[in-house]
């Protein structure tokens, strides 16, 4: 785990630490694109942008709460019982999120259905608790939860947008479920008289779309590596 890169020789400054956390969460160690965690809800609810955004934000909230709690009790909890404690914390965070969605976004909650309670099984969350929050102080942990959640949400929304555009020819449909009736002008009808391409909405579309996003990410990585090799800088950021 290259989360906390701190050596005695050059102690990284605070801004560098936070910059590194954002870079890890959004790109380098993205929970979906690199760690391949939480694929089940990702594939299941990414059929429209709004569904994806709803689940992404819920997951982000859970990540932030669980990271904060785990980090704050990291000195009290004994090593041998840490996993059950993490699970309890995550489950409580999920319950809080679920109940608040039920209260304020009831229709969206009904659409997302079982996948809100199932956030508790999202490995990305317990992975962050174990590998980051239990080893770092509270503020970096909260920031890490935020960035990991954002990375997850961004991929989810991208996939949702691809599937929604190809599958239904719209973008931001059902936006009122999340932002109220006055926002319904946001919904875009991209093609007139579009007959729909059901495959993109159905599960195969999720797999094909995710594969395309992964391929694009890897393509960019490979290209970056090539240009880095070409420029003869002594770049300390290059890692094996």
């Amino acid at each position: 785990m290259s989360d906390s890169k701190s050596s005695k020789d050059n102690q990284p400054t605070k801004s560098e630490v936070y910059k590194n956390i954002s870079f890890q969460g959004l790109w380098k160690n993205n929970p979906v694109l690199v760690q391949m965690l939480g694929l089940c809800p990702l594939l299941a609810v990414s059929n429209t942008v709004i569904n994806a955004l709803g689940l992404g934000l819920a997951t982000m909230l859970v990540l932030v709460i669980s990271n904060a709690c785990v980090s704050s009790i990291r000195h009290i909890v004994r090593q041998d019982v840490r996993l059950p404690v993490f699970v309890l914390i995550i489950a409580s965070a999920v319950t809080i999120t679920e109940l608040s969605m039920k209260a304020w976004f009831f229709e969206l909650y009904q659409i997302l259905g079982i996948f809100i309670p199932l956030i508790v099984t999202n490995c990305a969350i317990v992975a962050r608790a174990e590998s980051f929050a239990s080893k770092n102080s509270i503020l970096p942990s909260i920031y890490d939860g935020l960035m990991m959640g954002l990375g997850f949400t961004l991929v989810l929304v991208t996939l949702g947008a691809i599937r929604e555009i190809i599958g239904m020819g719209t973008l931001f449909s059902h936006v009122e479920l999340m932002f109220g009736e006055q926002s319904s002008w946001v919904t875009l009808q991209l093609f007139d008289d579009y007959q729909g391409f059901l495959l993109a909405i159905l599960p195969p579309g999720a797999f094909i779309g995710l594969a395309l996003i992964l391929a694009t990410k890897n393509y960019i990585e490979i290209k970056n590596k090539k240009t880095k090799k070409l420029s003869f800088e002594s770049n300390q950021e290059v890692e094996p």
Binding site: Q195, F197, L198, L199, L202, P204, I208
Partner: protein, 349 residues
């Protein structure tokens, strides 16, 4: 130029991919001819769209994968896949559905898996299944009416309809399309509107049951049967898959349907000669890449397809079952091949 010294063993040169593909395409000719006779020009246009788009996609994919374009393009495999797609899909679908079918067959199913010889699934059938799932409406209602009283389109009208969605003023879309015999007979029998014997006894003009298996569809199947038998005769394919597939379809329909109640279930012969049974048995299930390769395995593979076809046709919601049955059995091929390896001479089992 070197002279070749010829000594024993006097084996024939190994048969090339191109020869196999050519042979299979020749064997399809009788079926294509009958379908042209029944469906008219829209069917031929489908074949042309499928072939040209498949070759273009193949060339682009090979170029991107940095493979020799010319060698692979001329091996005929893309050509055969394209023809099979055109045979499988409804004749009146708009042109872009055919192009999309070629894309999914050539790029997604074949080239992304590593090209000819590496595809796990039968490309033409994956394309058909994807189209059927994605466009259920177009893929099930746009079958041209081939019963005896239907109107048909000439060449210009077919082109107009396929590319611009325009029909001549005096022809309505309902007049030229109809459910396939398999579909309408299934609906009639399951709703209890008529029994098999009542269907059979209808007058010739509006008899959807035909002589044995759905009016006119049976002739298509007979033509494919002839082509298939020729392929077995010339050893392009072995007998295992077609025989076991048709036999298991026959046994399933006999034991599970016709043998229980012959008024509610069409006869086993009906199943053999309706839909795409013969095309599937001889030309699709026998695809050398995605089918099982051991003799015993081929029999298991074919039998599995036969059972699945009967199950999906009888209890499923889609018009025909060949594509799903073949794809499902493609998944099991590695296991079948593993357990049916023949004993190597000199080794114990």
């Amino acid at each position: 130029m070197q002279t070749q010294r010829i000594s024993s063993p006097h084996l024939k040169p190994p048969i090339q991919v191109t020869d196999i593909m050519k042979g299979v395409i020749y064997a399809l000719i009788p079926g294509i001819a009958v379908m042209f006779w029944l469906y008219g020009w829209s069917f031929i246009i489908n074949i042309f769209i499928a072939i040209s788009s498949a070759l273009i996609f193949e060339a682009i994919a090979l170029y991107l994968r940095q493979r020799p374009v010319k060698i692979y393009l001329y091996d005929g495999s893309a050509l055969l896949t394209a023809i099979l797609i055109a045979l499988a899909i409804p004749t009146l679908v708009p042109w872009w559905i055919v192009v999309l079918g070629s894309f999914f067959a050539i790029v997604m199913t074949k080239q992304l898996y590593g090209g000819l010889g590496y595809n796990v699934f039968n490309p033409a059938m994956v394309a058909y299944a994807i189209l059927l799932i994605s466009f259920p409406e177009q893929m099930s209602i746009l079958w041209q009416n081939i019963s005896n009283e239907g109107q048909s389109l000439n060449l210009i009208d077919s082109i107009n309809f396929k590319f611009f969605n325009e029909l001549p003023a005096d022809i309505s879309i309902d007049a030229i399309t109809s459910a396939t015999p398999l579909d309408s007979i299934k609906t009639i029998l399951s709703s209890g509107a008529a029994t098999v014997s009542e269907l059979k006894s209808q007058s010739f003009d509006n008899n959807i049951y035909g002589v044995i298996a759905g009016s006119n569809v049976e002739w298509i199947n007979l033509a494919f049967l002839a082509g298939g038998l020729w392929m077995i005769y010339t050893k392009l394919i072995t007998w295992h898959i077609p025989v076991s597939m048709l036999l298991s379809l026959l046994i399933c329909s006999l034991l599970l349907g016709y043998g229980i109640d012959s008024d509610l279930h069409p006869s086993p012969l009906f199943h053999l000669f309706t839909g795409a049974s013969m095309l599937g048995a001889f030309f699709i299930a026998t695809d050398p890449v995605s089918a099982s390769t051991t003799p015993k395995g081929k029999i298991v593979f074919g039998a599995g397809i036969g059972c699945l076809i009967y199950a999906i046709r009888t209890w499923g919601g889609y018009p025909d079952a060949i594509a799903f049955a073949v794809i499902l059995m493609n998944i099991t091929v590695p296991v079948i091949d593993y357990y049916t390896q023949p004993r190597v001479y000199g080794h114990d089992k």
